[in-house]
Amino acid sequence: MEEEDDGSLVQRCREGDLKAFDRLVIRYQKPVYNAALRMLRNPEDARDVAQTVFLKVFEHLEQYDPNLRFYSWLYRIALNESVNALGRMRPHEAISGNEIDQTPGLERQLDSEQTRHAIEQALMRIQPEQRSVVVLRHFLHLSYEEMAVILELPEKTVKSRLYTARQLLRDLLLENGVC
C-alpha cells in the first residue's frame, strides 16, 4: 500500500484528524528521538525532547509553511528543543562528554565499539551548533541544501561549520589516542 505523503497528513491534522497525526509520529519518532539523543546523549532527556517536539508541532501546525518540507520544519524544532534542553541542564550534566579517558593513546587498542563510544563522547565536547550539523549530516543523512533550510543558514556556512566540526572531532580523538 502506498504511504500517504507528509503534506496530506498535515492537512488532515489541521482538519482535526488525530489518526493522521499518529501517522506522522510513527513516521518520525525515530529520527527525532535519535537527533535528540545525539544532541543530548541522555536517553531520558532525548525522550522528553522528542515528546515536546511533537507537541509543539501539533500546537503550531497552523504556522507550518507548506512550501517547506515537513521534516525540515520538524527537525528544526527538534534541534532547537535539544539546544534549549542543553541550556536547562545543570553544569555537570551538560559537560558529561568531558569524561573522556585521558590515558595516553598510543598504548590503547580500541576496537570499533570503543571508537564509537569515544566519538559519542567527543561529540558532546563540541559546541551545540557544530554538533547540530554533524547530527543532520551523519545521523539524519541530509543534504547540504536540506541542512541549510533547517538551520536557516547559507549552504556555504553549513559546509564550513561541518568541516570545522569534523576536524574538531578528529583532534579530540587524536588527543585521546583514538584516531
Binding site: C13, R14, E15, G16, L18, F21, D22, V25, I26, Q29, K30, P31, Y33, N34, L37, P43, R47, A50, Q51, F54, L55, F58, E59, H60, L61, E62, S112, T115, R116, I119, E120, V134, H138, F139, K159, L162, Y163, R166, Q167, L169, R170, L173, L174, C179
Partner: protein, 236 residues
C-alpha cells in the same frame, strides 16, 4: 594549492561530491603533502565511524505518551480554509447567531445540572466534546507511573472549570478527584480502544476567590499507583 582548498577537497571527497578533475587535483596534493594524507585518512575514519553508528529505536511508550499529552481537540489548529458560505457577510451573521444560540443553550443546561448536584460519589467520565471549545489552560501535570502514562489538565471552558484526563494504561484506571471539599471517582479510564480514545473530561465545582488545588489519586486494579496535584491560581 592553498590549505583551505585542499581541506575543502578532502571533505568533498568524504561527502562523495568530487568530480574527476577535482579527484585528480586532490590525489596530486595528497601525494605531495603527507600531512594532508594523514588528515584525510583520519577524517575518513571519523566520518566512517559516525556513519556506522546505528540509529536506536525510540522507547516503546514514546508514541503513546505523545498522543496522550496532546491538548484537547478544541485546541487543534483551525483548518486554514473555511467553507465558502462562511465568508459571505450574511452567512457570518448566521454563523454568529448559531454560536450564540448554542452558548445560551449550554449555559441553561449547565445551570440546570449544577442545581441538582451529583447523585452519587461515583460517576463515569464524559468524553470531551464541543463544549470544550474556547478553552484556557489553567494547569497541566504529566503522569508517568510506569504502568500508567498520560496527562491531567485543568482548563477553563465556557461552562466552567474542567478537568481533562488523557491516560493510557494496560488495565482500567480509576481516578479520585478531590476539589472544593468534594471527591468524585471516575472509573474505567486508560483504555486506548475506548470510544473517543483515552481522553475524558469532567466539570469541576467553580473555585472560590482564593487559590485552589485539585488532588488526583490514580488506582489501577483497585490499588493506588500514584497521585498528582493541579493548582487553580487565586482569582482564576
Amino acid at each position: 594549492m592553498t590549505e583551505l582548498r585542499t581541506l575543502a577537497l578532502i571533505h568533498a571527497e568524504i561527502d562523495g561530491e568530487l568530480d574527476a578533475r577535482q579527484r585528480a587535483e586532490l590525489a596530486r596534493e595528497l601525494l605531495a603533502e603527507p600531512q594532508f594524507r594523514a588528515l584525510r585518512d583520519d577524517l575518513t575514519r571519523v566520518c566512517g565511524t559516525l556513519e556506522g553508528i546505528a540509529a536506536v529505536e525510540p522507547p516503546p511508550q514514546l508514541r503513546a505518551s505523545i498522543l496522550a499529552a496532546l491538548p484537547p481537540v478544541a485546541a487543534m489548529p483551525a483548518p486554514p480554509r473555511r467553507a465558502a458560505w462562511a465568508s459571505a457577510p450574511a452567512a457570518r451573521w448566521r454563523y454568529a447567531a448559531l454560536f450564540a444560540g448554542a452558548l445560551i443553550a449550554a449555559t441553561v443546561l449547565y445551570k440546570a445540572s449544577i442545581g441538582r448536584g451529583p447523585d452519587a460519589n461515583e460517576m463515569a467520565g464524559t468524553m470531551a466534546g464541543s463544549a470544550a471549545r474556547s478553552t484556557l489552560i489553567v494547569d497541566t501535570v504529566q503522569v508517568d507511573l510506569g504502568q500508567l502514562t498520560g496527562q491531567a489538565r485543568l482548563y477553563r471552558a465556557a461552562t466552567g472549570l474542567q478537568l481533562e484526563l488523557q491516560l493510557i494504561a494496560s488495565a482500567p484506571v480509576d481516578v479520585l478527584v478531590a476539589s472544593g471539599g468534594r471527591t468524585q471517582r471516575i472509573s474505567g479510564l486508560g483504555r486506548p480502544d475506548s470510544p473517543g480514545g483515552p481522553r475524558t473530561a469532567i466539570a469541576l465545582p467553580d473555585p472560590g476567590p482564593g487559590a485552589q488545588t485539585v488532588d488526583l489519586t490514580f488506582l489501577v486494579g483497585g490499588r493506588q499507583v500514584g497521585a498528582a496535584q493541579l493548582r487553580v491560581p487565586a482569582g482564576d
